[in-house]
């Protein structure tokens, strides 16, 4: 079971969180024209990386904040966590 450092609450067990997918995907702006390909990339296409991956988790049974977590998908090592409003650098 992973140990995830919530930037708001501190280190908590994985079972307090739920997974939310790739954190680098940006939702296209509302009302803006967008090609089928770009929309499909947003909705469906994911890289499924092996290695370092920025992903979203929600601290569901805690502060309910969505957070960004940099995790190695092969080793489960977690390098960094950010608040929702912090930019991935």
């Amino acid at each position: 079971m992973l140990h995830i450092k919530c930037p708001h609450c501190g280190i908590r067990s994985q079972n307090e969180f739920s997974y939310g997918g790739d954190a680098t995907i940006k939702r296209p702006e509302l009302g803006k024209e967008i090609s089928d390909q770009d929309w499909d990339n947003f909705v469906y296409n994911r890289k499924s990386l092996r290695g370092k991956h920025w992903e979203l988790w929600q601290h569901l049974s805690g502060c309910r904040q969505w957070i960004k977590v940099q995790r190695d998908t092969a080793t489960h090592e977690i390098f960094k966590t950010l608040k929702a409003n912090e930019e991935i650098s």
């Binding site: 079971m1 140990h3 939702r27 296209p28 909705v43 929600q58």
Partner: protein, 998 residues
């Protein structure tokens, strides 16, 4: 029965306390501190079971967790448990155990015929033989194999015992209380670290209990005792015996099973039987020691052949002789220690050493004691069926390939030592990249992935002095980093006998003309010949060889067999062992009971149960409940002898003619506040929300980004910046997360707060033509006329002194209202509604009637919004705003979603107006078309229409909009039904929606 193999004195057992027990129906006794194994051996019992495949007689091979043979069925306090190792089960008064895998008895086992058929039972036998004819598998092969195999029977009774889970955090977790565990725990504890020391046996000390050493002028055991008692006094240390750390998971979480009551005749009151510990450790020190490995020779599975360390442990810990004419077969000095122990107890052993001229302090001591030592000798085969009677031995050439002439010598046990295998299971589970150590012919931990270090014998360090030095140091270093405190302990003086190098000999060649079975895996009956066959048939990867032959796959997980298996594969393949590699070690290290894994989450605790504040009223009024997510909801209220069908029909009919009341507390409720609340709703819902006036409700549908309907419900504008959203019962949690996702990540500029208020409000839906009359009585001060409270209107009211929210919304399609009060007043509200409604013929209705009402009205619910449908499919396309963007809108223009013959919701009526239509059935054009019959759609929900008094269903049908009036067939292969039907509008009742507005 006398204990003819019990020594006069010695051992760590309590000879003042006799304990009686039963094995295979016979009475025996042992002493307090015995295991079932030691007590049986003391009584001269060596036949304990039958082997898995060939049903060969099985005795004892080890003295602890590594035991592959002595698995019994245990009976305790009226319960039975399989897969118990006799070498681990402590004796208690009244213990009863039976052999497994034998029928009719362990002495005469019919399955033993397999032994004579063994030529027919080679590796892969089951895969090859039972493949055809295919139809034989279920009826003949499988039942036969299941009966013949197996290691005991699981109880099908409810387990009365309690099992607990515990979460713990520590600085340093130490797994094993041998020399390395004690030393590292001691120095870590002295530095003030929070330490957990776990020992899987009942006694602390590991090999210190059996080795002839001296630490700081104390015997090994005395030193272990003093360290343990000091550790127990320290507030920062938890010391646990009977506790097996069996799994090493991500982020340094380890799981340990503590056996609290298994050694007692009965679990003490208020105690659990076992406790599972989830331990998050900053650092882990693995001090799990090593397991002696056997040397492979003919008939090496005969009862009486056992590990030499086990024979020594039985003498030194339990005061028990495993035999009176022992043969010690060794390739290293450990066998000598066992022989010396025999000699000290007045027994004359013979040592067969595969080495030519070994010299060391220990060997010198054995020679001085006049022990008969035969160098360059091997055991070719054990003789005897149910117990070793003699051994065929021979001289072996220097190249270890030629055997001299065979001699037969009498013996009653053969104690084998093939050197030591470090127990690297936990390190390997943690992700450690293990490496092969040539010096000890075994794998040791290499590069760590997590915060673990392996100490002592588990790391391939076999001298006490080096082990202690390293362990004191590691414990000190690691804890110092955590506590910033150093309190160095002085290193004690260590006296131990020096040993010399071992011989890398592991398998005795077969003598000419003999075809003895030479076993590698004792629990799964995998012999040398099986591995040879597997390799001949082309299996190369060790993982494949393992699965094909079942090597190392039994409950002992190959603790004694893995390395010899690897040696054999590498020899045949002409590779070095590290090139073959070992198979993956997976948790659990040793079997864990299902009860411990499940813990307290059994029965009604297996998931939380939510009840509405009106629950007790429903109970009193004969409600039959149904699970709705985690909620319990009344399905129907039973009157007299009614069944579900009759009751729900009555309840639904009463809503259509009089008035009914339904508990809708379970609906998800989300409170939304903030200046941008309307904007949020406008983006989340598909329809327009910016112009909804205060005091009005609106129905809305929300989509996922992929265009699929996520949920529906009504949201009411309570005041300028305050909305009350309702969701379906099932989607409540997901919708809240969905809103939070967009507010926190996508549109953080929106100034809105959302919070779940599902539990804060109790809700009652009042539905039916007489509901307004009832409402007038409930809220005499409020104007609830059609003008004062129109359809989709909202107002606050006073319910006999209780503040209430009144929504004019309808799921049943009738004139209807929903009244919400604070949860604490829910019961009061309900009683008042029932009381006031009596004159209008009010009846409570459950979820079944609720479904009937919405189905015949064509209102969609979870069975249509099933994660596969878009708004159009549910005839909700009228709610799609063309003027604004919303979540998921862009997806709706994908080609498939805009197809002309897109599926759409329709109504379905059987032509005979009688036959009920099973939910989930398929709709087809031609009932007699050849299979696979093209499917046009599926039945999503069925009911008995109370309005029309005939069956009615909703279906999602291809090209639904053009199918009205068509005649199709409903097919349900599950129920073996073919029903001719007519497709009608999904709005079967009041298609214009006049009633809700009346």
């Amino acid at each position: 029965m006398t204990q003819s193999f019990r020594l006069e004195s010695g051992g760590l057992i309590n000879r003042d306390k006799k304990i009686s027990f039963k094995f295979n129906g016979k009475n025996y006794f042992g002493y307090e501190g015995d295991t079932l194994a030691s007590a049986l051996i003391a009584n001269g019992v060596h036949l304990i079971g039958r082997s898995f495949k060939y049903h060969r007689p099985r005795g004892f091979f080890g003295a602890g967790v590594d035991e592959p043979y002595a698995i019994v069925q245990l009976y305790r306090n009226g319960e039975t448990e399989p897969n118990i190792k006799a070498t681990e089960q402590e004796l208690f008064e009244g213990l009863e155990a039976k052999s497994v895998n034998c029928w009719p008895s362990v002495n005469f086992d019919i399955g033993a015929i397999n032994n004579f058929l063994k030529i027919f039972l080679p590796a892969g036998f089951y895969y090859k033989t039972f493949m055809w004819p295919k139809s034989f598998w279920y009826k003949i092969y499988e039942p036969f194999i299941r009966r013949a195999a197996g290691l005991g029977t699981a109880s099908i009774k409810h387990d009365k015992e309690r099992y607990e889970h515990k979460y713990e955090y520590c600085d340093v977790l130490i797994t094993g209380s041998g020399p390395s565990g004690l030393a590292s725990a001691y120095s870590a504890a002295k530095n003030g670290a929070k330490v957990i020391l776990a020992e899987d046996k009942s006694r602390f000390g590991g090999t210190l209990l059996t080795s002839e050493v001296n630490i700081g002028n104390q015997s090994g055991k005395e030193w272990a005792d003093s360290i343990i008692s000091e550790l127990k006094e320290m507030p920062n240390v938890t010391v646990k015996n009977r506790s097996q750390v069996f799994g090493y998971y991500d982020h340094n979480m380890l799981v340990m099973s503590e056996r609290i009551s298994d050694h007692l005749p009965k679990t003490k009151k208020f105690h659990p039987k076992q406790r599972l510990w989830y331990i998050r450790a900053k650092e882990v020190l693995i001090s799990s020691g090593s397991i002696e490995r056997p040397i492979v020779f003919g008939n090496n599975d005969t009862p009486g052949v056992m590990l030499s360390s086990a024979a020594k442990e039985y003498m030194k810990v339990y005061g028990v002789l495993v035999g009176k004419k022992p043969l010690v077969f060794t390739n290293n000095d450990s066998g000598y220690e066992t022989a010396i122990e025999f000699k000290k107890n007045g027994i004359d052993p013979i040592i067969l050493d595969t080495r030519k001229e070994p010299q060391s302090e220990i060997i010198e001591e054995a020679k001085n004691m006049n022990i008969n030592i035969k160098n360059s000798y091997v055991v070719v085969a054990a003789q005897g069926y149910k117990k070793v009677k003699s051994a065929d031995i021979a001289k072996i050439s220097d190249n270890k390939e030629e055997l001299g002439s065979i001699e037969n010598i009498e013996c009653d046990c053969i104690c084998v030592s093939g050197f030591w295998t470090p127990t690297i299971h936990l390190a390997s589970q943690s992700g450690n990249k293990t490496k092969f150590n040539e010096d000890i012919d075994a794998f040791v931990p290499g590069i760590s992935k997590q915060n673990e270090k392996t100490l002592g014998a588990a790391n391939g360090i076999y001298t006490l002095e080096e082990t202690l030095k390293d362990s004191f140091e590691k414990g000190n270093q690691l804890s110092k980093k955590i506590t910033n405190n150093e309190n160095k302990v002085s290193f004690p003086n260590v006296v131990e006998k020096k040993s010399t190098v071992h011989d890398k000999f592991w398998c005795v060649p077969l003598p000419k003309g003999k075809n003895y079975k030479r076993f590698l895996d004792f629990q799964n009956d995998v012999a040398v010949s099986d591995i040879e066959i597997a390799l001949k048939e082309g299996y190369r990867s060790i993982e494949h060889v393992k699965r094909y032959t079942t090597l190392g796959m039994a409950t002992d997980q190959g603790k004694t067999s893995n390395l010899n298996g690897l040696q054999l594969v590498s020899k045949i393949e002409n590779k070095v062992v590290p090139a073959v590699g070992h198979t993956t070690f997976r948790p659990p290290y040793s079997p864990v009971s299902i009860g411990a894994i499940v813990g307290r989450e059994v029965g009604k605790h297996s998931k939380p149960t939510r009840k509405s504040p009106m629950h007790s009223w429903h109970e009193k009024n004969n409600a039959v409940f149904v699970d709705a997510g985690v909620w319990l909801r009344p399905r129907y209220y039973k009157r007299g002898e009614e069944n579900l069908f009759e009751a729900s029909k009555r309840e639904a009919k009463n809503v259509r003619t009089n008035v009914g009341v339904c508990d809708v507390t379970t609906l998800g409720k989300i409170d939304i506040k903030g200046p941008d609340a309307a904007e949020l709703l406008n983006r989340v819902y598909t329809n327009a929300w910016l112009k909804l006036p205060v005091g009005k409700a609106r129905y809305g549908v929300m989509l996922r980004e992929d265009g699929i309907v996520m949920d529906d419900g009504t949201t009411t504008r309570i005041s300028e910046n305050h909305y009350h959203m309702t969701t379906t019962t099932a989607q409540a949690a997901n919708v809240l997360s969905h809103l939070e996702y967009y507010l926190q990540l996508v549109w953080p500029e929106l100034n809105v707060n959302v919070v779940s208020t599902t539990e804060q409000w109790a809700g009652a839906a009042i539905a039916g033509p007489k509901s307004r009359e009832l409402l007038k009585k409930l809220f005499p001060k409020s104007d609830v006329t059609n003008e004062g409270l129109p359809f989709m209107g909202y107002m606050e009211g006073d319910l006999f002194g209780v503040k209430a929210k009144i929504f004019r919304i309808s799921f049943s399609g009738e004139l209807a209202y929903e009244v919400n009060v604070e949860s604490d007043n829910g019961y009061f509200m309900w009683e008042k509604i029932i009381e006031a409604g009596e004159e209008f013929g009010i009846q409570p209705y459950g979820t079944e009637a609720l479904s009937t009402l919405r189905i015949e009205m064509g209102h969609v619910a979870g069975s249509e919004l099933d994660g596969r449908t878009i708004p159009y499919d549910n005839s909700l396309e009228g709610l799609l705003s063309k003027k604004k963007d919303f979540i998921g809108k862009r997806s709706l223009s994908r080609r498939a979603f805009a197809a002309e013959d897109r599926q759409k919701i329709v109504g379905v009526v059987p032509l005979d107006k009688k036959t009920s239509i099973p939910e989930g059935s398929h709709l087809v054009k031609d009932a007699n078309a050849p299979l696979p019959n093209p499917k046009l759609g599926y039945i999503s929900a069925s009911c008995w229409s109370v309005e029309h008094d005939n069956p009615f269903s909703l279906a999602i049908l291809k090209d639904g909009k053009n199918m009205i009036g068509e005649k199709l067939f409903v097919m349900s292969p599950l129920k073996n039904k073919v029903i001719p039907v007519e497709i009608v509008s999904s709005h079967y009742v009041d298609p214009k929606g006049e009633r809700v507005r009346s």
